[in-house]
């Protein structure tokens, strides 16, 4: 076990913590727009960290380059997809939850 394996494992575990916190945020946040916050940023950083940490363990230059390619693609595409869903929801009139007390105003539409 050399220093690169230890560094890769530390990055891997740090990414896992981000992914687990993001998953809990998706089921715990009260509103759709706050859930896009958890899905767009927290999961993206966690998965990119997991891929980079896996890149320390694999052998072969081509595999590492392909892993970095997937990491760059996820870092670009995942917030873009989340933004597309959020823009569709806003254009179709899904109202943001402004008052935590009245949770039944979640499905109201903009008039």
């Amino acid at each position: 076990m050399n220093i690169l394996d230890i560094l890769g494992s530390v990055i891997l575990v740090a990414g896992l913590i981000f992914v687990l916190i993001g998953s809990i945020g998706i089921i715990r946040f009260p509103d759709f727009y706050t859930r896009t916050h958890a899905a767009g940023k927290c999961d993206t950083l966690g998965l990119v960290l997991v891929l980079i940490g896996l890149g320390f363990h694999v052998e072969g230059m081509l595999n590492t380059i392909k892993l970095l390619l997937i990491a760059v693609f996820i870092a670009i595409a995942n917030p873009t997809a989340t933004h597309a869903i959020a823009r569709a929801a806003y254009r179709l009139g899904l109202k943001p939850l402004l008052d935590l007390k009245s949770k039944d105003s979640q499905n109201d539409t903009l008039s």
Binding site: M1, I24, I26, H57, I70, A84, I85, A88, L92, N107
Partner: protein, 89 residues
Amino acid sequence: MVEIIIMTTIALSVAMVIPFYRVAVGPTVYDRILGVGVMGTKAIVLITLVGFIFDRFDMFIDIALAYALLNFIGTVAVAKYLERKGIEH
């Protein structure tokens, strides 16, 4: 060194099951699309981890690359379809 990869795979599988709650009971249709997108993005990383465990990494990395493209196109296509068609809540 493969033990920490197996532990990572198990933890990522647990984190992949959690958004399925949002897909099943989500109040709006956008929540369901968001949950499916998150689960698909986690499946990309899970494919690469499984390829590392089974020692066929050079094959599974190509599958993961194709799945990443397909997942992004699918999510954006559903969002654009809903935005053009319009739904009632």
